[in-house]
C-alpha cells in the first residue's frame, strides 16, 4: 500500500484472505471520551441516537477495563474498582465475542482507543488494530489541517481504512 510519504508501515498488513465487507463498525475515541471517528459498513439495527451510542460504547469499555484489571488473578497490586487508572496500566482486555458479533479493542498509552466490530468468526485482530493505528498516525496525526481532539474528517484516512478493512478475514 503506497502512502504519501512512502514510509514503510509496520507491522505489515495481514494478507487478505476474504472478499467482501467483514467488518460492521469502527469507533475511535480519545482519552476524553470524544468520539473521533465512527465508521459503519454493515449495521442493520440502530437502537440509539449517535450521541448515546458513543457514550454507551465509551462507558462500556471504560468499565470493562476497570473490571478486568480488578479481577486479574496474577497482578498483586490492584486498585479499587472505580479508581481512575493511567491509560495503558493494568491488564488490558482485547476482545469479547457474542453469538452475533466480535468486538476487538486496542488502547494506546496515549489514550486513543480503537474499537472494531466484526462477525464472530474473525480471529485475533490485534495486529489489524495496530496497523490501523499506523494508518491513524500517517493520515491523521501528521495531518496539519487536523486539530487533535476533534472529529476526524480526513478523506484519505477514510478511504485507506475502508480499503484495509475490506481485506480483513
Amino acid at each position: 500500500m503506497q502512502f504519501f510519504g512512502g514510509s514503510e508501515i509496520s507491522p505489515s498488513p495481514p494478507v487478505p484472505t476474504a472478499t467482501g465487507n467483514n467488518a460492521h463498525m469502527m469507533y475511535i475515541f480519545n482519552r476524553n471520551g470524544v468520539c473521533l471517528l465512527y465508521r459503519e459498513w454493515n449495521r442493520p439495527l440502530h437502537t440509539l441516537n449517535p450521541q448515546q451510542d458513543h457514550k454507551l460504547m465509551f462507558g462500556l469499555l471504560f468499565s470493562l477495563k476497570s473490571l478486568t484489571a480488578k479481577m486479574d488473578p496474577t497482578n498483586a497490586e490492584k486498585g479499587n474498582l472505580g479508581i481512575p487508572q493511567l491509560p495503558g496500566q493494568g491488564c488490558s482486555f482485547h476482545s469479547f465475542r457474542t453469538n452475533t458479533y466480535k468486538l476487538s479493542f486496542m488502547e494506546t498509552p496515549s489514550g486513543i482507543k480503537f474499537i472494531l466490530i466484526t462477525n464472530p468468526r474473525t480471529g485475533d485482530l490485534r495486529e489489524t488494530l495496530k496497523y490501523i493505528y499506523n494508518l491513524y498516525v500517517e493520515y491523521v496525526a501528521k495531518n496539519a489541517l487536523y486539530t487533535p481532539g476533534t472529529l476526524i474528517k480526513c478523506e484519505l484516512f477514510n478511504t485507506a481504512l475502508d480499503q484495509y478493512v475490506r481485506s480483513i478475514a
Binding site: 510519504g5 512512502g6 514510509s7 514503510e8 509496520s10 507491522p11 482519552r31 476524553n32 471520551g33 457514550k55 465509551f58 462507558g59 471504560f62 479508581i83 481512575p84 487508572q85 493511567l86 491509560p87 495503558g88 496500566q89 494506546t108 498509552p109 496515549s110 489514550g111 486513543i112 485475533d124 490485534r126 495486529e127 495496530k130 493505528y133 499506523n134 491513524y136 498516525v137 496525526a141 501528521k142 487533535p148
Partner: protein, 186 residues
C-alpha cells in the same frame, strides 16, 4: 498471536523516511530567525518555540508509540530511558543518555551528544537570553502530557551559551490518571 516486541531506536531510524540533515537545520534556523524578527523579545521567542514544540509533541507521541511498539512504561525512569534511547534516536538520529537522577526518581537530565539543530549556529550578542533549541523542551513536554504525565522541561546546559554540552532537565510534576469524562446527569 503474542504482541510484537518493542523495536530499537536504530531499527526504526533505519526504516523511516529521512530528510536531509542540512535542510532540517537550515529550516529550523530560518524559523527561529523569523520568530526573532516578528516577536523581537527573546523571552517571547522562547515561549513561542516551546508552544510550537508542545503542538508537535502531542502528535509525535502517537507516531512514537505506533512505530516503536512499546507498552506502558512502569515508572518515570523507564520513560526517561525510552525518550533518550528510542525517541531521540528515532526522530533526530542522535543518541542521548540519562543521568543525574534525584532521590525520588522524578527528576533527571538528558544529555545530548550532538544536536543537529545547532549545526552552523552562533548566537549574536543581541540574542543572549535565547534558548535556541527550546522546541525540543516543548516536544518532550507535549508528548509526555499525552501519556498522562505533567512535566517541566528546562535547559540546564546549552553549548550556544558557552557551556560544554546540551543538557535538558525533565522533572515529573504529577501523573494524571484517566477519569470518566461524562458527568452522571447527562
Amino acid at each position: 498471536m503474542p504482541p510484537a516486541a518493542p523495536r530499537s531506536g536504530e531499527a526504526i531510524f533505519a526504516s523511516v523516511e529521512r530528510v536531509n540533515a542540512e535542510l532540517f537545520t537550515l529550516t529550523y534556523g530560518a524559523i527561529v530567525r523569523q520568530l526573532l524578527t516578528d516577536l523581537e523579545e527573546v523571552d517571547e521567542v522562547n515561549k513561542q518555540l516551546d508552544q510550537m514544540g508542545y503542538n508537535i509533541g502531542i502528535r509525535l507521541i502517537d507516531e512514537f508509540l505506533a512505530k516503536s511498539n512499546v507498552s506502558r512504561c512502569v515508572d518515570f525512569k523507564e520513560t526517561a530511558e525510552m525518550i533518550a534511547k528510542v525517541g531521540f534516536k528515532m526522530f533526530l538520529g542522535v543518541t542521548a543518555s540519562v543521568m543525574n537522577w534525584d532521590a525520588d526518581g522524578t527528576c533527571c537530565s538528558i544529555l545530548l551528544e550532538d544536536n543537529p539543530l545547532v549545526d552552523f549556529v552562533e548566537l549574536p550578542d543581541t540574542c543572549q537570553g535565547l534558548y535556541y533549541c527550546n522546541i525540543l523542551s516543548g516536544v518532550i513536554r507535549g508528548a509526555l502530557e499525552m501519556v498522562a504525565m505533567k512535566t517541566e522541561v528546562t535547559w540546564i546546559r546549552d553549548m550556544l551559551r558557552g557551556d560544554d554540552a546540551y543538557e535538558l532537565q525533565v522533572k515529573l510534576l504529577k501523573q494524571v490518571p484517566e477519569e470518566y469524562p461524562y458527568k452522571d446527569d447527562e
